[in-house]
Assembly symmetry: C2
Homo-oligomer: 500 residues x 2
């Protein structure tokens, strides 16, 4: 058969798969945002059944043969060849798994996430533990059905970030520990930055208005996206025209929702700006997690924590919260938004201590898979590690092991990509600064120029390139974590008046 | 094969169908409430594809054979036999339709509803007309694939309300015209009831609080349901544990959202109170439209327009709107909520003129199918009929032919069930009054007792019985529209001081 005809057959199958994906994404978004709890029991097995139907399409022998045949064709375009290559790579994760096991796992993941949410609201790890233990067991069992070159935890690390391994992450985190821990220690003896006002009362109703203003400032297209609310914020890009973010409002914290909204908007912008040519293909959302996190953390940390980002926003925020911010200047606010402090919650951690939160999770995950961590003692292990690395010990499960949703869905291997993504982001920002004046763009209310740079150098490619290729394309250099380390040391030394 | 085994096979197939139904209901709810418009073009064909997959399951020859085989078994329980009977009856509507036509129609209906919403917001019928004409054409074409005993418009009338025909509806509406039009005319010469305050400014934000209070008063279980917002309010019962209602806030109208919320809550309560045994069966939501409308209109008109309903709510509403309701007593409010006036919008019409709004739609639909109405002149025909029956002429399409969503989705034959449902409701309320003191229940904040009566006499049965059987079960009598006519004449004569 001619390649063109084969490709048409491929597209027809992909259309079917995309229909299930759209429905399942939408149902899950609905379930995590608004669906009433009493509907869970009816919904879960039906959603799992549909996952099974999608699985059948994705792993049908004829479909895989079609992909394999296409992968041998030399008259494919570069984009087509890459599409098939990445899809076959990703399919390795499921193609040898028995369907019933896959469906069982899907249902467990749904139930487990619901159990996690209840447990977190009740501050009771024991309510969630049996689910987590089953998820761990299943995640180990699924490894038996992999035909990957890697083994154990390395399999999952490579799923989320192609090319990454324990060895490479160890090296990355060793560098972080070596370079950053002494600085964190030194800062702990310095005078604290004032942040009392962060914890005043900020009604959710008014915070919502602030979020809309921030999204407007970021040119977030509300005809192609929306903002909703969940226990744990996330982004769901259903299509190029439908990018959804969520947040969680804490009325006693001014910063939490702001930076989480900017973070998620960073994710959403990545998909929103994929080129039209790739928007309905596999490359629309197969970017690596590290690449995706680089875009969310770039906006959250490298843009939204700068004063220039706030020149057009801070006056409005003062209008919204006249009493709460009565004694607070923009400079006070920016300082508080950048202050570093060893704390308990990853999503609210400052940039400097953030990678240590990740390191803790990474070490636990590694230990779960190599057997050096006792899975029946995870809460203690979590707390001990917080004490060891950050000098703080969670007193409540919701501020400890229950704070993150990831494990409830079986996402082992995801966390380290947050730190890696921050590393990528530092390098991207450096390259961007060579082309445009970031502060000027933000001050002049031209956030769009920053988005255009990101589109041109990163976003439009979707998942066409490997992370390392994409970094080379955008920056002209290979990935170098020294930019990240340098940025953090420089920024925090200056902020706390430490001589280098 | 033994009946028990056959039944298991049947349930397994029904589970699959229910999975698609859940996903499609959820995606549609999402699309009508929050989904960003730029996602429509990607979503529509995929949703239609999934409708096609569900269609394939529902109309698979083996599945229909299974149903037909089951329908011959004498060892089925009454519930089982009825389930199969009604399902086969409903399947007649699609089983002879070619799949590609069905998918095409599904996609057209989606696009048409989206076009309707845009046209309504732009007040421009011409934007919607081409879609409506295609929907009409398709609805006629689909009749060719019916093996029903009925013909033309009668087919659709019977789909929504088993047993109903043009002949019977003509008789019903003739009675209404004969009995009510003279009364309406007589009232028009009477002094108007004061309602100026209805059109003051009521911010949506505060109206939302009022709706929550009303739902609380009605014991609406928010762990098994939710309230959201749409252009045209509707109810979507995804499962017994997930009953969703929507409303639309008009800031210059106090009554609109209140009565629409109570109406939709009436629908939702019907499904919420189906017995557990029937909740996961076909009988969960195959009630006739007339029966369903009887439950929504019972709550909207026969309960929420009584003063006793407001004894526990009016003081709170005055707190929410202290300025707007400064000069308004509960009695003023109740009078305004019951005042009759010939107006343009069906959903906001009073009980007395309401059936004339339905009559207009019924006559147009009848004419569309028998060819006596020129489909290229529908807007004028609509306006002329409003002038003829109600003495008012729409000046804007959004207050005329574009006001209702129904035709955009091809729901011809649905409208008359609203009037019929009001008729059923009158008879149900009369029967209920024999068992409990409705006013006392409402005054004592015991709305639950009313719901229990409805559950026991109507709701728990789901769609087990025909409408006429269900009326007999609940009231001990055959359906008699005289109760409805009598109720309206009595109520409005008294309200306007007319001697009978």
């Amino acid at each position: 058969m001619e390649t063109r005809e084969l490709w048409k057959k491929y597209e027809a199958e992909m259309f079917k798969i995309s229909a299930y994906k759209l429905a399942l994404s939408t149902v899950e978004f609905d379930a995590e945002t608004i669906a009433p709890v009493k509907g869970d029991a009816y919904r879960n097995p039906r959603v799992s059944y549909l996952y099974g139907e999608m699985f059948s399409l994705q792993t049908a022998p004829e479909f895989i043969e079609l992909l394999e045949e296409l992968s041998t064709r030399e008259d494919l375009s570069f984009e087509q060849a890459r599409t098939i290559k990445w899809q076959l790579k990703d399919l390795e994760a499921i193609r040898y798994v028995p369907k019933n096991l896959y469906v069982e796992y899907s249902q467990l993941a749904l139930e487990s996430s619901q159990a996690w949410e209840k447990a977190k609201n009740n501050d009771d790890y024991k309510m969630f533990e049996p689910y987590l233990l089953r998820i761990i067991e299943m995640s180990k069992k699924l490894l038996e059905y992999r035909h990957s070159d890697a083994e154990g935890y390395n399999v999952y690390l490579g799923d989320y970030e192609p090319g990454m391994t324990i060895e490479k992450y160890d090296e990355f985190f060793d560098l972080i520990k070596k370079e950053l821990v002494p600085l964190i220690k030194e800062i702990s003896s310095k005078e604290k930055i004032r942040n009392d006002f962060v914890y005043r009362n900020y009604p959710a109703e008014i915070q919502r208005k602030m979020m809309n203003k921030i999204l407007e400032y970021m040119n977030f297209d509300l005809e192609a996206g929306l903002i909703s609310e969940t226990e744990h914020p996330f982004t769901n890009s259903i299509s190029k025209g439908d990018n959804r973010i969520t947040t969680h409002y804490y009325e006693n914290n001014l910063l939490s929702s702001i930076f989480s909204v900017v973070h998620e908007a960073g994710h959403a912008t990545y998909n929103y700006q994929v080129s039209d040519e790739l928007a309905e293909t596999y490359l629309f959302d197969n970017m690596s997690s590290g690449m995706h996190e680089s875009q969310s953390r770039l906006m959250e940390n490298y843009l939204a924590r700068r004063s220039s980002f706030w020149d057009n926003l801070f006056p409005y925020m003062k209008e919204l919260f006249p009493e709460q911010l009565n004694d607070v200047s923009q400079s006070d606010f920016i300082k508080a938004a950048n202050a570093t402090e060893c704390s308990l919650i990853r999503t609210e951690a400052d940039e400097l201590t953030y990678p240590l939160h990740i390191l803790i999770r990474y070490e636990i995950e590694k230990g779960i898979f190599d057997g050096t961590v006792d899975v029946n003692d995870l809460e203690n292990i979590w707390n001990d590690k917080y004490e060891e690395y950050l000098g703080v010990r969670p007193q409540k499960a919701s501020e400890g092991i229950l704070q993150d949703v990831h494990w409830s869905g079986g996402s082992f291997g995801y966390f380290p990509t947050y730190a890696l993504g921050s590393g990528y982001a530092a390098q991207f920002v450096r390259a961007m600064s060579r082309d445009i004046n970031i502060d000027e763009c933000m001050r002049n209310n031209e956030f769009i120029k920053i988005k255009e740079w990101l589109k041109e150098h990163i976003h439009k490619y979707g998942g066409l390139n490997t992370p390392l290729e994409q970094i080379k394309i955008a920056t002209g250099e290979d990935f170098n974590p020294r930019y990240y380390i340098g940025y953090l040391k420089n920024k925090y030394s200056r902020l706390y008046g430490i001589k280098k």
